[in-house]
Symmetry: D2
Subunit: 289 residues, 4 copies
């Protein structure tokens, strides 16, 4: 067993103290761990401390389970929220989509060529449109129509929730899924549902942001990757970017230009999430990139 196979990430936050780094780093060293990446951030406003350490354990040392048990006493002392993730674990990502395929197509392509080291147990859609694309990748495609009627809609989201739960995802990506995700589902998968919104939030919340951008006459359009919460398009922002538009660009041009930005922003945001680089603090994110 080589050390590459025993690589872990510690993600933690705690009130600010003197000596946090020393205690954590010493503990890891004491267990025979070798820290290869380390990020930390001291938020002076909230007197909080955030960290992400990547470390290898050699094969002569303790099991990760024993490591965790022993670490708890360090964590208790520091009043720390923490978790340890296996860096070699392949996260499971369920994707939801409606009719626009550009985000989904790019994610599936990146998955297939190995740029995105995930499993995709299924794709769920409220339309049949993208079945052929998804099935070419030999990924199960579930069509769950979402009617407008309130009860039928609730039933549809319960079916969706069952499908999600049956596939035990580490992250759920709304890759241009044009339905409002219900609050109870947001809550169940808190900080694990990732949306791509096709505007530079907080501008142009809600439907048809390119139309809103055109109406306001902005000179740049953007995209925002964020965690979904019960407040529409108001969850913690993970990543954003923009692209220049001109007066001669129609809404169709904006849609075309926006696709590239949406793809780039979603790809980056999802990667940050899956590599445990994103820590949520209130409605802000700390992104160790």
């Amino acid at each position: 067993m080589d050390t590459q196979n025993r690589r872990f990430r510690l993600i933690a936050s705690c009130p600010d103290h003197v000596g946090i780094l020393a205690k954590v780093a010493s503990f890891i060293a004491g267990q025979g761990g070798n820290i290869t990446e380390a990020n930390q951030f001291e938020d002076q406003r909230s007197q909080s401390f955030f960290m992400r350490y990547v470390f290898n354990l050699s094969d002569k040392t303790v099991s990760i389970d024993a490591f965790k048990v022993d670490f708890q006493s360090v964590a208790d002392e520091l009043e720390m929220d923490w978790r340890i993730a296996d860096a070699n674990y392949r996260p499971r990502v369920v994707m939801l989509v409606s009719k626009f395929d550009h985000c989904l197509a790019r994610l599936l392509h990146r998955w297939k060529v190995g740029d995105l080291k995930i499993d995709v147990p299924c794709v769920i859609s409220n339309h049949e449109t993208l079945r052929e694309l998804v099935e070419w990748y030999r990924i199960p495609y579930y069509h769950v129509p979402v009617p407008k009627d309130k009860e039928a809609k609730q039933a549809a989201f319960e079916s969706t929730a069952e499908l999600i739960e049956a596939n035990a995802p580490d992250a759920i990506v709304l890759a241009r899924y044009m339905q409002i995700f219900p609050a109870w589902l947001c809550e169940r998968y808190r900080h694990r549902v990732i949306n791509i919104h096709h505007s530079f939030l907080p501008s142009f919340v809600g439907a048809k942001p390119y139309h809103q951008a055109d109406e306001r006459g902005v000179k740049l359009i953007g995209a925002t990757c964020h965690y979904v919460t019960e407040d529409l398009d108001a969850g913690p922002i993970i990543e954003q970017d923009v692209v220049r538009v001109q007066h001669s660009d129609s809404i169709e041009d904006m849609m075309r230009l926006g696709k590239d930005v949406e793809n780039t922003v979603l790809s980056r945001g999802l990667r940050y999430h899956l590599e445990d680089r994103v820590l949520v603090h209130g409605n802000r994110t700390i992104v160790f990139n």
Copy 2:
């Protein structure tokens, strides 16, 4: 007299027709004019046509006054709003400022080294703070305090308006002037009052946009150069740009990073305005850059 000395700009808009370009270009050629730059835009939504032509008149041809008289019949036929500007005219720009000097300092520097071909008849401020800077450039500095009291404030803006009028500006730049410009003054200098707002509008309208940006946790901050109208921070946008921020950037860092963007955006926007590259259409701008 060489032709460089007889360079003009035609800026026009009209309902869309067949043959606009042919009529205008033929008229200019018929007067011995040589078109050196030409931009046009057909807005399909409003069936409107916008154009900006730069042309030289040789010294053997008509005076520009005769040219204008004759052009009126072409314009009438095309139902055209138009004006002709002398490209060698040095526009007069009055600047208003409060305490932050980064935008003003950069504009004055660019003016002094000849990058900005304008005259600056005066700088008006509601504070004394920047007198030394301005007077080093040998530019008159007028201190007009703006009290909070409603009547006193009205009087202050009347004094400001008199100063502006006495200096006959082609443009008025609010280079971080932290007072709301009254609606009657906006109206008097319609589409000639240029503001730099330190956010990517329409996000973070009003006061303390960097604080708002920090609160929302955005990953890019921006600046917007726009014409001032009676609706606060809602006038036609001329230019925008953004810069990346990280979770570790404090509001002070944002202010520092934002300064460069504010400067760049204001410099570009003002140049577009002064070179007659900006046509306003409803609440949008057409920028021929």
Copy 3:
């Protein structure tokens, strides 16, 4: 027949004169044409004039063939190089590729969803690797291995040339084709062979540009879309862009980050070419975008 069906582009260059616009615009108007887009550029160094006009002909007017015959006399008078393209013509694009699929996959996806209005008669590769991808799109895939031996290589390029010729392309895209295109083929398809080079040219010409970028320690990596000429990576540049890298980015990270830029730059460059927005002038391009 509606006018949308009779949309054309005039692309022309000529020595600089007084009255070019007037003559051309008047001719088009005289034929009942309505100009919807117009770009021109006067290159003061070479005293040359470049233009691109898009115009509609109504169904009551002349055929485009008669139009062309009559236009020749205007062109002769102005010593003009010109061509007229049917804006509704679907250009044929042959793609060449080796093993990396990110550029090809994105182009084929954009073609399939209708963002790229082209026909793809075939894909040619010196490897078998991407057959499955291409054939999923129901596009013929030709495997033409390119041996190292000089004569065999010459034979391979003759086969490649025959395949290209049989498919009568308007453009040939080297979508990460890792062979040097022979000078005689560049010449045969002059200014129609488009390459994507994975560096910000003229930096890092030739093989392994990301390795070169890493060696030099640059802080941005880029991609360049250019016409292929007999001088390796030195043909006229159509489009470029960059992305930021950090000291912690490995060559593999650069490759991943670079993919998005390569895709964006190639997509833009190809679109400019296909919409006749690119005029070559010496080793520079004029891009009317």
Copy 4:
């Protein structure tokens, strides 16, 4: 004495080991130090480790001199190159300039308003041109002409070196100083002489990079902030950025557009240097930003 007044930076590199972080962080904690920022980088190619820690010492703890003496044994054990800088020390920056003032003017402005926390003991120029600007800031201005004759040039650089030495700078900024800095001076102030080159290096080394950029027809121009070494424009790169240009931009336009990028890149690069964020490794930099 509050802890803000006792803030230090540890900058270090060493061969990669298990437990570096633990040893260093434990030492600092043991001395009563509180780490507020920490960056590290493990270079897998060279098996080297780089770190930058910012820490406060409370007033009840050891002197920094005692701290340093004790730290030496930790450093010896880790075979570490290290230094400790006082974060409250105001670095002394000597600036050299020729005739272009945009970089100098911006640096002096940023210094005056307190954005740049440095002392500027003098400005040295091979021309008289910028004396008025510099003296307005009440900074001594030394005019040291650099003749073309070899011996006279050597003498000029000896005078320059004496002036530099007499002012004991922590950094020397070549703010568009258009003379080649002699190798012996580069060596004397190794990794402390910072140049701004007006191209995206390694493209367009040497003189007149905007002319070279125009000749090659690139679509973006850039600027590079780098340490000066005996190899012209080939020293370790600290920061780079680019701005888009069009076919219609003349060389004068490029110069104007380039000024903003030069300023931004130099400002960022200098700040990174002064905050001890730049570690040089071979001909590359690690920038902890």
